[in-house]
C-alpha cells in the first residue's frame, strides 16, 4: 500500500479539488434535548458544512447506495400494451468525505450480497461504483463494538483513508484517482516518525473500546439457545417499528410494490426497504404469517446478522456501529441481547 502525509491545513484544498463532484459527508443536524450534537450524512455545500469531529451519525450512509424507496421501473400504459422504462437512478458521481471504518466495511458487506452475488443488483452497483470514498479514523464511542466484529479498520472499499496525526493527516492510498488528487495537493512521503505516530494513534484507539461482544462460537451458541427465554424478554420490549433496520448500514431486506397512476396511463414498480421486525415481514400470500411473534422476528434479525450471514460469507453482517441500539427507544442493543442469550446477563 502507498502511504502519504499532508498538513492539516491542506484538507480544505483537497476538499475543493474533489468538490467539482457532489460531496456527501457528516454534518451537524441539531442538538438533542440535553444539548448533545446530532450528526447525519448529507450532501455538503461548503467545506464548513463538513463536521469531521462527528460522533456516530443517526442514520448510516446506506441511502446513497440503497435508497429507502427506489423506483425500479416505470410503465407507459397504452390501450392494450405497455412500454417499460428502467432507470438505475445514477446521475452523477458522489464523493464521500469522512467515512469511518465501520461504514466502509458496511458497504463492503453490502457488496457481497448486492454486487458479488449470482444476480448482481444494477441499481446498487451503479451507485456504489460511482462513489469516491475518503475514509477517516475515529475514536471509539461507548456504543461502538466494531472491535469485536473485526470492522474497526477498513482494509479495502475506499479510495483514501485519513488518520489524524495532530498537525497532519496520514493517508492510505488505494486508488489511482486518490493518488492523483494527493499529488495535486503536494502530499509527501511519510517519515519514520510519521509511521511511529500512526502506530501509536491506532494502538491508543484499540485501548479505548468500552463495549465488547463475544463473537467466539456465536453461530453455535445461537443454535444452542434457539429457545432461550431471553428472546421472549427482548421480544416483550420490541416495538416492531423497524427503526433498527432503517438506521442499520447493512440491512438490505426490501419489498416491491406496483402502483398504477390515478390517470391509468402510467404505472411503476417501487422497491422499499423493509424490516424483519415488522409484523408483515414473513406474511405470505393467503395471509399466513410465519413469524407472528415479536420475539421470533427479533430473534431472526440476530440470526441473520450473526449466524446465517456468517455461514454464507464467513463474516458477520453486523459492523458494530451501535446505531440500532442508540436509535431503539426500547433500549434493545446487540451487546446486551447477545450477552443475555449467552446467559451472561
Amino acid at each position: 500500500m502507498i502511504f502519504k502525509v499532508f498538513p492539516k491545513k491542506k484538507l480544505s484544498l483537497l476538499y475543493e479539488l474533489l468538490a467539482v463532484n457532489t460531496m456527501v459527508g457528516p454534518t451537524l443536524k441539531g442538538k438533542d434535548r440535553n444539548g448533545k450534537s446530532l450528526y447525519d450524512f448529507d450532501v455538503l455545500y461548503t467545506f464548513d458544512d463538513l463536521a469531521l469531529d462527528y460522533t456516530a451519525t443517526i442514520h448510516s450512509a446506506k441511502r446513497f447506495v440503497l435508497p429507502y424507496h427506489e423506483k425500479l421501473s416505470s410503465f407507459d400504459i397504452n390501450k392494450t400494451d405497455w412500454k417499460k422504462h428502467v432507470d438505475i437512478n445514477v446521475y452523477k458521481p458522489l464523493v464521500f468525505f469522512g467515512m469511518h471504518p465501520c461504514d466502509i466495511n458496511a458497504l463492503n458487506k453490502l457488496d457481497m450480497v448486492l454486487a458479488g452475488n449470482v444476480y448482481p443488483n444494477p441499481y446498487y452497483i451503479g451507485k456504489r461504483k460511482n462513489i469516491f470514498i475518503v475514509g477517516l479514523d475515529c475514536s471509539p464511542e461507548p456504543q461502538c463494538f466494531c472491535h469485536s466484529m473485526g470492522t474497526d479498520s477498513a482494509l479495502h472499499g475506499f479510495d483514501m483513508f485519513l488518520t489524524d496525526l495532530g498537525d497532519k493527516y496520514f493517508v492510505e492510498v488505494l486508488s489511482a484517482t486518490a493518488f492523483d488528487f494527493l499529488s495535486q495537493i503536494k502530499s509527501k512521503e511519510p517519515s519514520k516518525k510519521d509511521h511511529q505516530h500512526y502506530k501509536q494513534v491506532n494502538a491508543l484507539k484499540n485501548k479505548n473500546f468500552a463495549t465488547n461482544v463475544e463473537t467466539n462460537d456465536l453461530t453455535k451458541i445461537l443454535d444452542l439457545e434457539f429457545d432461550a427465554k431471553a428472546w421472549d424478554q427482548w421480544g416483550d420490549k420490541c416495538l416492531s417499528c423497524g427503526t433498527c433496520s432503517n438506521v442499520c448500514p447493512t440491512c438490505y431486506c426490501y419489498g416491491v410494490e406496483e402502483n398504477i397512476d390515478l390517470d391509468l396511463k402510467n404505472a411503476n414498480k417501487i422497491r422499499s426497504l423493509h424490516s424483519c421486525n415488522l409484523l408483515d415481514f414473513a406474511k405470505v400470500s393467503g395471509g399466513h404469517n410465519f413469524r407472528p411473534e415479536k420475539s421470533t422476528r427479533l430473534k431472526y434479525r440476530y440470526y441473520h446478522k450473526h449466524r446465517g450471514f456468517v455461514e454464507a460469507f464467513e463474516e458477520s453482517l453486523c459492523v458494530g456501529c451501535g446505531r440500532c441500539g442508540q436509535a431503539c427507544l426500547a433500549d434493545i442493543t446487540p451487546p446486551e441481547v447477545i450477552a443475555s442469550v449467552r446467559g451472561k446477563e
Binding site: K29, G30, D32, R33, L38, D40, I58, H59, R63, Y68, H69, I77, K79, T80, D81, W82, D236, K237, C238, L239, S240, C241, G242, T243, N246, V247, N259, I260, D261, L262, D263, L264, S272, L273, S275, L278, L279, D280, K294, A327, L329, A330
Partner: protein, 270 residues
C-alpha cells in the same frame, strides 16, 4: 367522462360514489376536493352522485359510500343505517368515522349531561356518547388519518377501480419517519406516538417536527406498555401520554388497560 374506462384493454366499471358526513369538521371531504392537480383524474375514475360539500345533485343510487364523521346523535344512526342499506361498500373516511375522532373526547367525562349543559346551555340538543361507524353498521374499509391523506385515497380508489387489493401499512410511523431520516422527537424532548401508531401518513407530523398524536390509530403491533416506559424514561407523565392516546379514539381498548393498572391520570371534575 363518457368514454369507456379501461386498463390494458380490460374494460373497467366506473363506480357510483357518494360522500356523506356525520359529526366531524368535514375536513376529510375537503381533502378530496383539495388536490386540484389530480382532481380531474380522480373524477374520471369514479362517478360521484352525492357529495354535499362539492355539488348540488343528490342520488341514493351509489355503489360506494365514503362516510366522514362519528355518530353522536340518535338521528344519525338512522341516516347511517339507510346509507348502509343503499351502498355495496361502506368506507369509513378519517379518524372520526374510524374511531370516533376528536369528538369522542367528550366520552372522557363521566357526566354527559354536564357536558351538554356546558356546550349548549339552555338550548340542549339530543346527543349520545360518541362512537365510530362500526358500532352501528358494518364497515368494509377504513381510510385512516385526521385528515385523510389525499394521495392515499387516490391510491385506494385506483386499486378499487382496477381490482387490486387494498392494504394499509401494518407497521408504526417510526418506519416511515426513519426512512425520511428525521431526528427522533424523543431525542428533541417531545413526546410522540410514532412507535405505536399505524403508518401510511409518511410521517406527516414528525417530518415537521411535531410529535405524533396517533390519528391513524394503533399499528397492528402497538406495544403501548413499552411506550409507557419510553414516556417515563424521557420524562413524560402518563397524563401526557393518555392525552395523546385518547385524542382520536383509536387506542380506546389499549388505554383502558393502562388506566386499569395505573391511577386514572385524566380525571376531570364535574
Amino acid at each position: 367522462m363518457d368514454q369507456q374506462l379501461s386498463y390494458l384493454g380490460v374494460p373497467l366499471t366506473r363506480p357510483k360514489v357518494a360522500f356523506f358526513d356525520f359529526t366531524s369538521c368535514e375536513g376529510c371531504q375537503l381533502q378530496i376536493l383539495n388536490n386540484e392537480a389530480t382532481l380531474l383524474d380522480f373524477l374520471n375514475l369514479v362517478e360521484i352522485v352525492n357529495f354535499r360539500e362539492g355539488m348540488s345533485e343528490k342520488s341514493d343510487n351509489y355503489d360506494i359510500a365514503f362516510i366522514e364523521g362519528s355518530i353522536s346523535r340518535p338521528d344519525e344512526i338512522k341516516r347511517l343505517e339507510a346509507i348502509r342499506h343503499n351502498a355495496k361498500i361502506v368506507v369509513a373516511l378519517g379518524s372520526c368515522a374510524c374511531f370516533g375522532g376528536v369528538n369522542q373526547l367528550k366520552n372522557r367525562f363521566n357526566d354527559l349531561n354536564w357536558v351538554k349543559k356546558e356546550v349548549y346551555g339552555d338550548f340542549p340538543i339530543e346527543t349520545i356518547e360518541v362512537h365510530p361507524l362500526e358500532k352501528y353498521v358494518q364497515v368494509d374499509l377504513k381510510i385512516y388519518g385526521c385528515p385523510i391523506k389525499k394521495e392515499e385515497v387516490e391510491k385506494i380508489v385506483t386499486n378499487l377501480v382496477v381490482g387490486k387489493s387494498i392494504t394499509s401499512p401494518e407497521y408504526p410511523v417510526c418506519m416511515e419517519c426513519k426512512a425520511n431520516e428525521n431526528i427522533c422527537l424523543f431525542e428533541l424532548g417531545e413526546p410522540c406516538l410514532g412507535p405505536v401508531t399505524r403508518a401510511g401518513c409518511d410521517a406527516w407530523c414528525t417530518n415537521n417536527r411535531r410529535g405524533c398524536w396517533g390519528c391513524r390509530g394503533p399499528a397492528d403491533v402497538a406495544n403501548v406498555r413499552q411506550l409507557e416506559e419510553i414516556m417515563h424514561k424521557y420524562g413524560f407523565s402518563n397524563e401526557t401520554m393518555l392525552d395523546r392516546l385518547e385524542c382520536f379514539g383509536g387506542f380506546a381498548s389499549l388505554t383502558k388497560e393502562i388506566k386499569k393498572t395505573k391511577k386514572p391520570a385524566a380525571k376531570r371534575k364535574k
